[in-house]
Amino acid sequence: MSDGFELKPDGACCARLNWRLLLPAEVAEEQLAAAFEGSGFVARCQRPEIWVFRRVRDRAELAYVPRTRRLQLRIDITVPEAERPGAAMSLASELAANLS
């Protein structure tokens, strides 16, 4: 993954389902939507308070909080638990590449 990005487990109702991608300070908010869309995500909700994007291919979701810059990566519940960390790392790397 590109420098400055860090992936950590995040709160979820199921084990290893949600992950937090810490963004480097130099990533501007204006870059995010285009980066998400570049990875095949489509906005489901884009309010000033919260954005939620979804990708049909693997049913992954991204939730972003503009006021705190929290970015949550959501792996789909049908992905076996053991494969979720790998899926999250792969998605994080893809987004980091789009944003670098």
Binding site: G11, C13, I50, V65, T68, R74, I77
Partner: protein
């Protein structure tokens, strides 16, 4: 199906939500699985599953009828399509009907109960009976509505289930149903006519604003193409209150009639469902990006946690939970002019001799636990182990008594939490 295709209403005075004039609430899979398990624990597996199936059929038959009327669905194919869309909108998964008036087969994909049971317990527990009594009951009701059959005409059985480590869920319908289903009294007009005056409590302005905002947000949360709703860190269902209430209240009355010595244990389990709900659903909502964006980061202050939990309950349609008193760590009085539980019990069983808001009772204690014992600012992981450390590691330092209950004829419900 979108929210605009349905007749939805919310009565802010009581924070109750209605779908086609029938009360509905939001619950996540942790609560849903626990609820079903408590019914089975109280009655035994076979009787529990039968009761849950009946509860589903009785609750969903009028709902599907009304949705078909709202949608103008006249033919069996149109009605089955409407029912399947409704099922997805409710977050219960996808049903594919291959049925006639004499029955047939219904294939279920991503059914909420089976899928989430496999996710939660599948790696450690071998299940021997199917998990989707609600889905099977819904499928039976939908087929009966589609072909203008009376409720209960068809026999129904879930023959395959992903919770049994099978590749899909299958539901078989055939002639020979018992046709002895009861009629649930769960109408918006009757419920509202029997409730007393509304009121507020401590921190009312903030709780009311957050609760109304959450209700608006969750109303717009769409299910995906599989019929799953993901929001606020949880997979959630829009569920008929009548399903929960019919199964719980009939179960508790059966226990009271046949095994009165077991009533306290059964009621303890029903109350524990409130712990499960608050820890998993309320807790995950609080830690979610949606909450952080809409409300803000958590302070970890006990009074904030309590206010937030009351707002969440209101947003989910549980009732207008208010904080009547709070002495940190010592006493909490939760009061509400309505819950989705007690008014149902009153309408269907008449005045009770005891408090019947099991979720409110369990939740009141759980609110105290969340307020006093969870380090919210450290973003804790709400794991089963953490739950066990909070609720099962030893006797809880607080007890609860439901001192007022609409089911008893009181004008409001009140749960009082005090130190042991």
């Amino acid at each position: 199906m979108q929210a605009d295709d349905l007749k939805l209403s919310r009565v802010e005075d009581y924070c109750l939500t209605f779908l086609e004039d029938l009360p509905y609430v939001y619950h996540c899979h942790h609560y849903n699985l626990f609820h079903d398990q408590t019914v089975d624990d109280a009655l035994g597996e076979d009787a529990g599953r039968e009761l849950r199936m009946v509860a589903s059929r009785e609750a969903t038959y009028p709902l599907i009828q009304r949705c078909c009327a709202t949608a103008g669905a006249l033919t069996p194919a149109e009605r089955l399509e409407t029912a399947a869309a409704l099922f997805r909108w409710m977050g219960h998964g996808d049903l594919e009907f291959a049925v006639q008036a004499q029955g047939g087969e219904v294939r279920g994909e991503h059914l909420h109960y089976g899928l989430s049971w496999r996710e939660k317990y599948g790696s450690g527990v071998r299940r021997t009976t199917p998990a989707d009594a609600f889905g099977a009951g819904f499928a039976a009701a939908a087929t009966e509505v589609a072909f203008n059959l009376p409720a209960g005409e068809l026999a129904v059985e879930e023959t395959h289930c992903v919770a049994l480590r099978e590749p899909e869920c299958d539901i078989h319908l055939a002639p020979g149903g018992k046709r002895d289903l009861g009629r649930i009294r769960s109408e918006r007009a009757e419920i509202l006519s029997r409730l007393g005056a509304t009121f507020g409590g401590l921190d009312e302005e903030r709780i009311a604003a957050i609760g109304a905002g959450l209700a608006d947000f969750v109303r717009g949360a769409a299910s995906d193409e599989r019929g799953l709703i993901r929001a606020f860190n949880v997979y959630v269902t829009r569920h008929l209150a009548a399903y929960y209430n019919t199964s719980i209240y009939r179960a508790v009355r059966q226990v009271e009639a046949r095994m009165p010595q077991s009533s306290p244990a059964a009621e303890w389990l029903f109350r524990e469902a409130g712990h499960v709900c608050v820890f998993n659903t309320f807790g995950n909502v609080l830690l979610s990006p949606e909450w952080e964006g809409l409300i803000g980061p958590l302070s970890g202050l006990a009074e904030d946690t309590l206010s937030y939990c009351c707002a969440i309950a209101r947003g989910l349609g549980f009732g207008r939970w208010t904080l009547a008193e709070h002495v940190p760590g010592k006493r909490l009085v939760l009061r509400t002019p309505a819950t989705y539980e007690s008014i149902f019990d009153l309408c269907n069983h008449g005045a009770s001799t005891r408090g019947r808001c099991y979720i409110l009772q369990g939740a009141a204690v759980a609110l105290m636990v969340l307020a006093q014992k969870v380090p919210w600012t450290e973003s804790p992981s709400l794991t089963p182990e953490f739950y066990a450390s909070l609720f099962s590691a030893g006797p809880l330092p607080w007890k609860v008594e439901e001192t007022r209950c609409i089911a008893k004829g009181d004008s409001y419900c009140e749960a009082v939490v005090t130190e042991v």
